[in-house]
Symmetry: C2
Amino acid sequence: MEKVDYILRADYLLTMEGDLSVINDGAVAVTGSNIADVGTFADISEKYTSEKISSGKNRVIFPGLINTHTHAAMVYFRGLADDMPLQEWLEKHIWPAEGKWMTGEFVDNAVGLAAVEMLKAGVTTYADQYFYQNIAAEKLVKIGMRGVLGAGVIDFPFTGYAQSVDDYFINAENLINAWKDSELISPCIAPHATYTCSPDNYKRANELSEKYNVPIHTHLAETQFEVAECQKRYGKTPVEHLESIGLLTERLFAAHCVWLTDNEIELLSKRSVGVSHCIESNLKLASGFAPVSKMLNAGVTVALGTDGAASNNDLSILGEMSTAAKVHKAVSMDPTVVDCRTSLLMATKNGAEIIGLGEKTGSIKPGKKADLVIADIDKPHLNPVYDIYSHITYCMRPSDIETVMVNGKILVDNRKLTTVDEAEILDIARQWQEKIKDQ
Amino acid sequence: MEKVDYILRADYLLTMEGDLSVINDGAVAVTGSNIADVGTFADISEKYTSEKISSGKNRVIFPGLINTHTHAAMVYFRGLADDMPLQEWLEKHIWPAEGKWMTGEFVDNAVGLAAVEMLKAGVTTYADQYFYQNIAAEKLVKIGMRGVLGAGVIDFPFTGYAQSVDDYFINAENLINAWKDSELISPCIAPHATYTCSPDNYKRANELSEKYNVPIHTHLAETQFEVAECQKRYGKTPVEHLESIGLLTERLFAAHCVWLTDNEIELLSKRSVGVSHCIESNLKLASGFAPVSKMLNAGVTVALGTDGAASNNDLSILGEMSTAAKVHKAVSMDPTVVDCRTSLLMATKNGAEIIGLGEKTGSIKPGKKADLVIADIDKPHLNPVYDIYSHITYCMRPSDIETVMVNGKILVDNRKLTTVDEAEILDIARQWQEKIKDQ
């Protein structure tokens, strides 16, 4: 009998490996930061002992959810401006607010709130695109959460963070050097979009990404405006433009991908570019409906992202799963597309793969890091149970997430954060609210 | 100083009357089943005293949510069959399951689960279309919830409930006579749809509705199949067909209304027919996108419904609000449509109006029944707060609903049911699950 740190048990265990079959009365053995073994509780308890064995009654275990596109610190602008056109929203509200408030302290405080919100909703990893990522990284390590933090690049300076465009690259390289060996933080570089980044800046980002073998995180083909602008400037659609400057590699993952030609879908598939589908943000900003069913059929790895809370307005991947699974059925006029298994795959395994963490997380498999959640299904809205996958996609809510483990450490225990003081984080958020609302 | 049963206080009070302005630090005085007064806490506490004054810190009060279209008892088929075409879903799964299991006992038990799920999600009233509504009515009265219960009518008998088509009308008239003076239950009649009810049966339903002045609840223009079938049988689209047989009156409220011509939208508006928009069901069954923005512009009163849990898969109106507010922006390519105020109006005041309860519920107004909810916004996903309407539509979840009052009685107190045993209801659901899953 081998001793392990935890044996986590559940009526339903979903590894998201192989044929996706459910392990009834399953268990996961966890040692240190790793998954040691997976199987039925009967098998696991024959091979392992632990002082910490969770009760599995009316519980389901699945891999930690992965938010593949967000701007965590924008959580402080949640609900600041809604129900208006994108350009008005950006130019009259979001950019002025960022210009006025965004500092290292702002990012530190806001990332704390975003991390707490995501952890309580079962999100164990997020991929971000913003500034001051060194500060976000420190915060995440303190909390114990996993992050793929992309240092933003745009064509113009940003007071306090980058006095010149060169500074974006210096900051990105510093971030990479500081965090490339971290267990929790994967640094990366994040050129913003084709309408805010010149071909030269995209190429510089690509060189840095190649030099250090880190991902590139960008926005791509989000709006019709962007496509028209790209056509005007470069005579090409956004994906073709990035292809022409050598950006389409397996290191790139692209958020949105709403307006794509069939040829562009083929290109994304051929070049193994991952796509972060942000359905709720695309809907709320009236950007359009991404061709998810077509992309999946073409072999593109599609994952899910919330985008920032200013355009969503929450950071829940369970919400994205449900919305994506429903909306694409109506868009395709085919109720079989984005079924409940596909939806959970997008939120877990696909998510890990596109952000460069496919070896580390995204499924429950011996040798991978122990990033997983236990949900409580002893709830009116989760009964009766005929197909647990259906319930996770169509009925489960963040409040059903009971336990969250990242890298072998329990960060949410019976819905309570273990490494941060939630009340303090809410108080700080309200202090910022009082300042920001009077801007 | 007048003594009242309750003074309910909140940082934000939304009455859903007038210009929808927020009452900061507001309070509602409740006596018996009625709302006695509404105002700032300062004003209310000068005029009234009560032994029960709730603390309002980080709380919001708004009218109880109204689910204007469901089949509550179908909650026992939640997740029984998903991700498949409508006809396969109905013919191979739902109809056989109903044929095998639907009895009075089934309805009693299942309605218990549905009511608990809805109450905990802030739904204080629902409009239903099913069989055995006398049993549902007894159950709701025991729980204390409000219901507009429609006795179903179809063209063919249903074993155990209706040996002949006449029985549907006999059962409906009995239901109306038994419950027409009830404070909580509004009986009504519910001819199913144009493809399952003959013109004669629609007309008989209309006569009964006129005789007793009760609403008619039907499905209308849900799918392209239905429109084609109606054209084939009657040479008219569904709304035109109902117009031609005299069904379009203000007593009618119609679920779905997905496939409408501009002329039909005008007809619905002119005849004051209310529409129950069931977006999540329409998406999940790939029925299509209802023209909600057009209907609202044409002056149609549009409210929200979940449809049955077998096609949603939950009974949360907060979910419908968020989905409707987001999806219609993308459908219209206009981010200003179905804004967060409109969304809450649809879920409250509009809901009450279309189901014939506009005088009784749907807003917080002296003289109306005290149907309201208190939500706790001291949560990571609900901070900071710049616009409380935005948070209710885009971020609030059923688990944020803390207190639910129906007809002046608290049914959910700090998230716990006060009139039913939730654990027992879950146990009974699991017993049914074991039977149904092996069918």
